[in-house]
């Protein structure tokens, strides 16, 4: 038994999906699902203890022969790709139907298959050239998926920003891979920590992969792209594709030597991303944009774990125990964030589908019409806030343990660990505040608009795919030990010296504690519910200080809920506020709006871009179409070259 045939089957499934996406759309979903199951099987085979799979062929693409490899690390990420590709495909059959989107549904299916296939190629190719081809293909596929709804101007703008930013990152990766190829004499990739001369290339990788993963301050493209894409696309972008950036970072910090500052830099970037990501999320009023900023936060948490893992490797075998915990937390958080963020985006998609708006200030009280969506979204919210007994807490707990254990060593790493641990705690509390706000404003209270009042629950396909993702979140939360072998296998592929298949004892205890907590919480809720409804509970107006005619507009809004915290972060959020105060004794009009723009984009990238554009515009004056002037340029050029040659010869 080898995962090879399964992987080829999966690839064939996606190719078949591309072919049938136009002519026979009803076969598209089975093909995609079969492919996802095959890929999942291959990945689980390797993670379950099977041998890593390598395949070399004389068949050449772009002049280089194929070299595929499925080791613990790529299999670990492949699981996430397979699960989210499958769930998103099911969701899309109801969410982005041919009837509702006749112009783009076909393209949506086609590019979904391309995206899935190219993600797989990136994960299994062990050749720099083919990695880049897969990378470019998946960037393009994601661009076309983001711009499916390209009649809207903001979608086109988000798409262009994504495309431009991605290619800046790809440029860095071109330099990275050609740098490796130039120094090793071939495109072939593999463990090569012995080549110390490769270490400086790490900075290129950090830029390229960091940009793709949405690391602060390279995240500028992420919020608008994830907010404006169709929701199933947002789910895979946020759940999976940004994790491919993490994959690249983990892959090449494992295979290549890194400079001494690498781990510290990754961890510092992680801390900044985590805190500022959630701060920006708190400032948002658009549900999907808010979720997008939470991706920046969670990538930060992952980077903290990865960064201290890299630091631990540099510290030698003494640091292995805490380094392993931090890295395990980071890797498990890759899965966890992929699951609950996809769940949340699909939930946001259901809200959008039912109400037609993403503005939280127009929503409210949706639980009544959409009990399934509300419950599943709440579950995702508890998970992403890192609360027990769900999966988000398990991975954050592992990262914390790594940090605390490192602090106990009182070594050089300990100084960096203390602020990281404290800020991780701050991040958790801020995320809790943010999701209390989202759940409260979107699903609870009274509907704030007609659209919210007329909402409806989504159909079985949309609910089903959310249920699968939610079940996975619960499973990892309640039985984390079951998933440890997969994490251990991925760690082993990263740092062979750290192989340890036995889970930490406390992880098993934590799983049991979660199980008991979940059971008691359910039982407690049931008991209290029955006690409260012993006699029929009369219903009355919400008590508003005796006010008899409360309206939905009196409720706390997203902006007012987050007001206290966003004020603390004014220095970076730079919100734009516009107030019309009621002034005359009987004011007819008053208003208040606030908007939190993307600070890095508007205050750094746009001004710098503006300067570049001005310089470019100035140079354009040289290009005016007058032949005489061009001849003059030629003359000047030849004269300059001649002067250089003459001076050179005379020396």
């Amino acid at each position: 038994m080898s995962p090879g045939p399964l992987l080829f089957g999966a690839a064939l499934g996606q190719l078949a999906g591309m072919i049938v996406s136009r002519r026979a759309p009803r076969f598209w979903l089975p093909a995609t699902l079969a492919s996802a199951v095959a890929a999942l099987g291959a990945a689980l085979f390797v993670l379950g203890g099977g041998a890593e799979w390598q395949w070399r062929s004389d068949f050449a693409i772009a002049g280089d022969s194929l070299h595929l490899r499925l080791d613990g690390l790529s299999a670990f990420f492949l699981v996430l790709v397979a699960v989210v590709v499958g769930a998103g495909a099911v969701y899309s059959r109801e969410y982005w139907t041919d009837a509702a989107h006749p112009r783009s549904a076909t393209a949506g299916r086609f590019w979904w298959s391309v995206l899935a296939l190219s993600l797989g190629v990136v994960l299994v190719s062990s050749n720099g050239l083919h990695f880049l081809i897969g990378w470019e293909l998946f960037t393009l596929a994601a661009f076309f998926l983001i711009t499916l709804d390209r009649q809207r101007g903001e979608v086109r703008a988000a798409g262009w920003l994504y495309l431009g930013a991605s290619h800046v990152g790809t440029l860095a990766l071109f330099a990275f891979f050609t740098g490796i190829a130039a120094r090793t004499g071939g495109w072939d990739l593999g463990p090569m920590r012995g080549h110390a001369e490769l270490a400086p290339l790490f900075w290129l990788a950090l830029f390229g992969f960091g940009l793709k993963s949405g690391m602060f301050p390279l995240h500028i493209w992420l919020p608008s792209a994830h907010a404006n894409a169709p929701s199933h696309v947002s789910a895979i972008l946020s759940g999976v594709t940004i994790k491919i950036g993490i994959y690249g970072l983990v892959r090449f910090t494992g295979w290549l030597p890194v400079p001494a500052a690498a781990g510290w830099t990754i961890a510092a970037a992680g801390v900044v991303s985590a805190v500022l990501g959630v701060a920006f999320a708190l400032g948002q009023h658009n549900l999907k944009r808010l979720l997008a900023y939470h991706s920046v936060e969670n990538i930060g948490i992952i980077l903290i774990g990865v960064g201290f893992g890299v630091v631990a490797v540099a510290h030698g075998s003494d640091a292995a125990s805490w380094g392993r915990l931090a890295l395990a937390g980071a890797l498990l958080h890759v899965w966890n964030h992929g699951l609950f963020k996809s769940l949340l985006f699909l939930g946001a998609g259901s809200v959008l589908h039912a109400t037609g708006t993403r503005e939280m200030s127009r929503l409210g009280g949706l639980w009544r019409a959409m009990p399934w969506t509300a419950t599943l979204f709440a579950l995702g919210a508890v998970a992403i806030s890192g609360l027990p007994p769900l999966n988000g807490f398990v991975s954050e707990w592992l990262v914390y343990l790594g940090l605390f254990d490192a602090a106990l060593t009182r070594g050089a790493a300990a100084w960096a660990v203390v602020p990281a641990a404290i800020l991780l705690g701050v991040t958790g509390a801020l995320a809790l505040a943010c999701f209390a706000k989202v759940c409260g404003v979107v699903f609870l209270g009274a509907p704030r608009s007609e659209a919210a009042a007329r909402a409806h629950e989504s159909g079985p396909a949309m609910r089903g795919s959310m249920l699968v993702l939610a079940a996975a979140c619960v499973a990892i939360g309640l039985a984390p030990v079951m998933f440890w072998p997969a994490v251990a296998r991925a760690i082993g592929a990263w740092e062979p010296a750290w192989v340890d298949a036995t889970p930490p004892d406390s992880l098993a205890v934590l799983g049991w504690a979660h199980l008991v907590l979940a059971a008691l919480a359910l039982a407690g809720a049931l008991v209290l519910w029955r006690r409260a409804h012993r006699v029929t509970a009369p219903r009355a107006l919400t008590w508003d200080c005796g006010y008899a005619a409360p309206t939905a507009r009196m409720q706390y809004t997203a902006g007012s809920f987050a007001g206290i915290v966003t004020e603390w972060f004014d220095w970076i959020l730079r919100p734009v506020r516009h107030a019309e105060r009621p002034e005359v004794p009987f004011p007819e009009h008053a208003g208040w709006t606030s908007h939190t723009p993307e600070t890095v984009l508007e205050h750094i990238v746009h001004p710098v871009g503006g300067v570049v554009m001005q310089i470019s515009a100035a140079t354009r004056r040289l290009q005016h179409g007058r032949l005489a002037a061009y001849l003059f340029y030629l003359l000047v050029g030849v004269a300059a070259l001649g002067t250089i040659v003459v001076i050179d010869v005379s020396q």
Binding site: A407, R410, V418, G445, D505, L520, P550, F561
Partner: protein, 306 residues
């Protein structure tokens, strides 16, 4: 079998202790406040009477609320109880102890906070939204202080397990840590100077305003949970400062009870002698608590080097 029976009995006694003793604390605080104010005040057992009466009462629900309005307080109560059971009690240890249990304790309290904020948002009331917003926002700073305090204890004892962390005294940094933790206790339990539990003006409340619409058994669960949380913080503070783990069972129980009493009376005195802070001052005081814990951490760090 015998050992199992003993463990079971011990667990039941511990559970009963947490459940039964917790409502005593608010009673003592109120008695201290009455005493300082020269009044007779309500009986120490007043909260028990209130809880019994609320448990018997019916419920009035807002027209807007979902089942989460009742489930929230229940889950929050379970979470606080779970956190309490993780806390070791001197030499008899905790019900459940493992590497990293202290983080579970902190996050169980966070879970309780999330559930309470959820239940508050259920009603669609501006007041309760305001209370929830304040609760979750100020908790950010309180959590930073709490994690720093935990780090200080960890570094001092060289462990991330509560039982080992709380066995010795906090060493030279104990005073700093006690001051920091006491401030966090006041903030997390919504006491003066952060919040005034006996105020009657909704605009100035945090915790009380979140539960305006709760009545009957759910309100009983909330009040009981709040008293357990207060006891939990008091026990944590006492154990962080006193080396209870080294004492005999009887001495430890006495020291713990005396310590908790001192903390409770201290809360009552603060409440009698201070006014509630203006809300924009709250972050400042919490940052001070954080800094106190940070200095305690530094002391623990240097103390270990010497």
């Amino acid at each position: 079998m015998n050992a199992f029976a003993i463990a079971f009995v011990e667990f039941v006694v511990r559970l009963a202790g947490w459940l039964v003793l917790a409502p005593l604390l608010p009673g003592i605080i109120n008695k201290v406040k009455a005493w300082v104010g020269g009044r007779r005040g309500p009986p120490v057992l007043q909260l028990y009477y209130d809880l019994a009466r609320l448990w018997q009462k019916g419920v009035v629900l807002s027209t807007l609320v979902s089942p989460g309005f009742v489930a929230g307080p229940a889950v929050a109560w379970v979470a606080v109880l779970g956190a309490a059971l993780l806390l070791p009690l001197g030499p008899i240890g905790a019900s459940l102890s493992f590497h990293g249990d202290v983080l579970l304790l902190i996050y169980l309290l966070a879970l309780a906070r999330f559930c309470m904020a959820w239940a508050a948002m259920e009603t669609g009331s501006a007041f309760e939204g305001m209370g929830a917003a304040r609760e979750v926002s100020y908790a950010v700073l309180a959590e930073a202080a709490l994690i720093t305090a935990v780090l200080a204890l960890s570094v001092h004892s060289g462990s991330v397990t509560l039982v080992t962390m709380l066995t010795p005294a906090a060493g030279a940094g104990a005073v700093l840590l006690a001051a920091g933790l006491f401030t966090v206790l006041l903030a997390e339990n919504c006491r003066v100077p952060f919040d005034d539990p006996s105020t009657h003006l909704e605009l100035t409340m945090i915790h009380e305003v979140m539960i305006l619409d709760h009545s009957g058994p759910p309100l009983a669960a909330i009040l009981h949970g709040a008293s357990m949380k207060l006891l939990l913080f008091a026990v944590l503070l006492v154990e962080a400062v006193l080396p209870l783990g080294g004492l005999s069972r009887l001495a430890a129980a006495g020291a713990l009870a005396a310590g908790v009493l001192v903390v409770t009376v201290g809360v009552g005195l603060v409440e009698s002698l201070m006014a509630r802070l203006a809300f924009r001052r709250v972050p400042l005081l919490l940052t001070t608590a954080f800094l106190l814990c940070l200095f305690a951490l530094l002391v623990a760090w240097k103390g270990g080097d010497a």
